[in-house]
């Protein structure tokens, strides 16, 4: 690199965020990209400050760890949008902003005298990002919804859960409906920023969280769109129109590993040798099939459909991985498979990731000084690192008393 300019690729871009659950991650990603983000909160503080978990489990608007994570490095101003003063303050902020991000119920800003058309006329370069649960025109955006209800309606929940369908389908954790909407909001905003460089003026971007989750269901959507088939959920693996073999295995230490399919002759050789090294080859009944797998160059999905023996060899490769799981810790199985060229992943809890040697070596966790604790706290790392424009260190989220 010839030189670096700290601050991220969006440094100098001024963002005003009307604090809401559906704007929080968009604003955070923009912070991580280097933008200056200012939250707008009512006088009593945003309701998001009351989201669990709390520092020491003591509810307090400055102790919400949810708030800490999503609002780090943002500034905050007080503006009650139900008052003329608050509206005037917002108008003043937007006159000097590049971007506004809001997730108010469609129409509610206009009812409070905040005229988007006039504001964009006053600041033609303004990019107006509006996020809603179902799109601005859909009546469901006027009704309450949550992460769970959006993901249930949009498809992700149908595809996740267990082989046993007496158990309810499962929502993936972590507020992913908001996250998917945020991903599309930021991608679209970047398109609009590039277009502004060419065309000189801003525009409005409508982001629909329900639609975003709908087109983030991979195989489930296009299997219906193309083949008219419906996928069925399975434990720890892709939902599919017809049952597939398990991929997730419990290791000897009670933790789980996701394994990939054995595909190459070399994979079968490596599995056979590994069993030999551990002195357990005799205990594995399908050892001879592993040796037959060594003769194959590559197993494609179409070959398995066409040839029963190839399918049996494939199943024996998987069985060998599962057999090894009974002898090894999850970490040793994960690294052992990967070092032998086979894809696998240890199933960490989110907080365990921070201690993994690879993440430690890459310096992923971001330490943030917290005077109230007298020590730095480990925050999730930035999802993208830009070598020409590295991100600045995070600052703690704005406290109630920090607001301007």
């Amino acid at each position: 690199m010839t030189h670096t300019t700290p601050g991220g690729p969006l440094q100098g871009i001024v963002v005003v965020e009307l604090a809401a659950e559906l704007t929080a991650y968009t604003g955070k990603l923009l912070v991580d990209l280097g933008a200056s983000v200012t939250l707008v909160e009512p006088a009593e503080g945003s309701p998001l400050r009351r989201y669990e978990p709390f520092l020491g489990d003591r509810p307090d608007p400055d102790r919400s760890l949810w708030w800490w994570h999503y609002q780090a490095s943002k500034s905050s101003v007080t503006a009650d949008l139900d008052t003329a003063d608050g509206v005037a303050r917002l108008q003043q902020l937007l006159a000097g902003a590049d971007v506004v991000v809001e997730a108010e119920r469609p129409g509610s800003l206009a009812r409070r005298g905040i005229d988007e058309t006039a504001l964009r006329a006053a600041n033609p370069r303004l990019l107006w990002v509006s996020i809603s649960s179902h799109g601005a025109a859909d009546p469901r955006s006027q009704q309450p919804s949550t992460d769970l209800t959006v993901l249930a309606e949009a498809g992700p929940v149908w595809s996740c859960g267990y082989d046993d369908h007496a158990l309810p389908p499962v929502r993936g954790g972590g507020g992913q409906a908001g996250n998917v909407a945020a991903h599309y909001a930021v991608m679209s905003l970047l398109v609009a920023l590039l277009a502004r460089e060419e065309r000189g003026h801003g525009q409005r971007i409508d982001v629909n969280a329900y639609a975003a989750a709908n087109v983030t269901t991979e195989f489930a959507s296009y299997t219906w769109l193309v083949a008219g088939e419906t996928v069925q959920r399975q434990t720890g693996r892709h939902a599919a129109p017809r049952p597939t073999l398990p991929t997730q295995v419990e290791a000897a230490d009670g933790r789980w590993v996701n394994t990939g399919p054995p595909r190459r002759g070399a994979d079968f050789v490596a599995l056979a040798e590994w069993l030999g090294q551990l002195g357990v080859a005799d205990e594995f009944d399908e050892f001879v099939l592993l040796q037959m797998g060594a003769e194959l160059e590559h197993i494609g999905m179409d070959q398995m459909e066409a040839d029963d023996l190839v399918g049996e060899i494939f199943a024996a490769g998987r069985a060998a991985m599962f057999f090894l799981a009974g002898k090894l810790s999850a970490y040793d199985l994960f690294v052992g498979l990967q070092e032998r060229g086979m894809p696998a992943g240890i199933i960490y809890s989110p907080d365990e990731v921070a201690a993994d040697p690879h993440f430690v070596a890459r310096g992923w966790v971001r330490p943030v000084e917290h005077p109230e604790l007298g020590r730095p706290v480990g925050y999730a790392g930035a999802p993208i690192t830009f070598p020409a424009t590295p991100a600045r260190p995070l600052r703690p989220a704005p406290r109630l008393s920090d607001r301007q």
């Binding site: 309450p144 409005r204 769109l225 809890s349």
Partner: protein, 412 residues
């Protein structure tokens, strides 16, 4: 170059699968000229989706994988054999005319072909290069293999999806292939924006696993600050909601086979409305009126709610709850959200494209609309080498005879 917000940009694109191809699909939908490069020797099979199900009809083979079509709409497709010196020369010419080079090979593949970042920068000093692999190129796992389910596992997403006392349920699809593609698109666009303002290119080395781990931020803080790991008795229970805490909050059975409704009672006011609608003694009494009582007794409360929902049609029940200010939704099957819910088609979420082998087929659209420079998805994915004439002829200026010779010599 073409119309659209990104009509001034050309992407030299080696991506594949969903984690890479999804990123450049987004760019192509906004008018970027995405030239997808595939290997003629293996018939493009590096991207296993080329020949993978689902299929529209009985036809099989590398031109019929509909996942490939879904993720590569609006792109141009060329073949190029980088084992040949002439192939490398042609790639150099293409890089000189491109704004960005994108790939999601295993770490180091492009470098071994002689096109690492230093070489790319020689060819085009302001080039943006975005590589995307499971673990990033640097670090102990730099050579490890990955795809969606593995990135999900290692990043914490799989663990955080499940019911207590059971194995991880995980994600029933490659959430991190979609999401890795989203971050890759952000990386390309943000680096191009920096270039537009400064003239500087750069190499962004994206790690899908890192991007995934960033999606559970509060859990890291809860573990660090409160010493409370997510791996503990009764946790996770991802159909419940602890941050913010709500109850009842879950997926409950309804009338029908494998039919379910999701209900979130967000506060005491919503509970009062819910209890009044239920109208049964267990609900209308004082027992559950306070949020703290509902949170403390969630197992019992969920049992009550599940017994009550079991007799209802999930669509009618969700509608009735919503009209009373209670967040609720049916768990929808693909057919129900794609064809049954007309709002998705009205949004334009399932555009129809014509693929030259598969024929007319619907694909995933985009969940955004831009008022001035909206997206358009109107062409199917390219056949293998479909745009060789156009790219080698019109862009690189080769004659028809020269292009014919490249074919004959196995260069394209």
């Amino acid at each position: 170059m073409g119309d659209g917000a990104l009509g001034h940009l050309r992407i030299c694109d080696f991506t594949g699968q969903l984690a890479g191809a999804g990123a450049t699909k987004f760019l192509a939908a906004f008018g970027a000229e995405v030239i997808r490069i595939e290997d003629p020797v293996t018939g493009g099979r590096w991207d296993i989706l080329r020949g993978a199900p689902p299929f529209k009809d009985e036809r099989r083979g590398p031109e019929f994988g509909s996942g490939y079509n879904n993720h590569n709409v609006n792109k141009l497709g060329i073949t190029l054999n980088l084992r040949t010196e002439r192939g490398k020369e042609l790639l150099a010419e293409l890089v000189r005319r491109s704004d960005a080079v994108t790939e999601n090979f295993a770490a180091g593949v492009l470098e071994r072909w002689g096109f690492g970042f230093e070489r790319l920068r020689e060819l085009r000093p302001d080039i943006v290069y975005v590589s995307n692999c499971g673990f990033g190129q640097v670090g102990p796992y730099g050579r490890f293999k990955s795809w969606g389910p593995i990135a999900q596992a290692v990043s914490g997403l799989t663990f955080a999806s499940g019911l207590p006392g059971r194995p991880p349920a995980g994600w029933g699809y490659s959430y991190m292939d979609h999401t890795g593609g989203y971050y890759m698109a952000m990386a390309i666009l943000a680096a191009l924006f920096w270039r537009a303002r400064t003239g500087e290119g750069q190499w962004v080395d994206l790690s899908c696993t890192e991007a995934g781990a960033a999606l559970h931020g509060p859990a890291l803080l809860d573990a660090d600050v409160n010493g409370r790991p997510m791996r503990r008795a009764g946790s996770p229970h991802s159909n419940r909601n602890a941050w913010p805490a709500m109850a009842p909050h879950g997926v409950y059975p309804t009338a029908g086979d494998d039919d379910w409704v999701a209900i979130s009672v967000v506060d005491d006011e919503a509970w009062a409305a819910f209890a009044a609608f239920v109208g049964q003694d267990w609900a209308t009494g004082a027992r559950w009126a306070e949020r703290s009582a509902r949170l403390a007794g969630q197992d019992e409360l969920d049992g009550r709610v599940a017994a009550w929902t079991a007799g209802y049609d999930r669509f009618a029940l969700a509608e009735a709850l919503r009209s009373r200010g209670i967040a609720a939704a049916p768990v929808q099957r693909p057919a129900e959200r794609i064809d049954g819910d007309r709002s998705t088609a009205a949004w334009g979420l399932w555009p129809t494209v014509v693929h030259d082998a598969i024929g007319s087929v619907r694909v995933d659209g985009l969940p955004v609309h831009l008022s001035e420079t909206d997206w358009v998805i109107d062409r199917g994915a390219p056949l293998l080498g479909q745009h060789n004439e156009e790219v080698y002829g019109e862009l690189l200026g080769l004659s028809t005879a020269e292009i014919g010779a490249l074919h004959q010599n196995g260069v394209i």
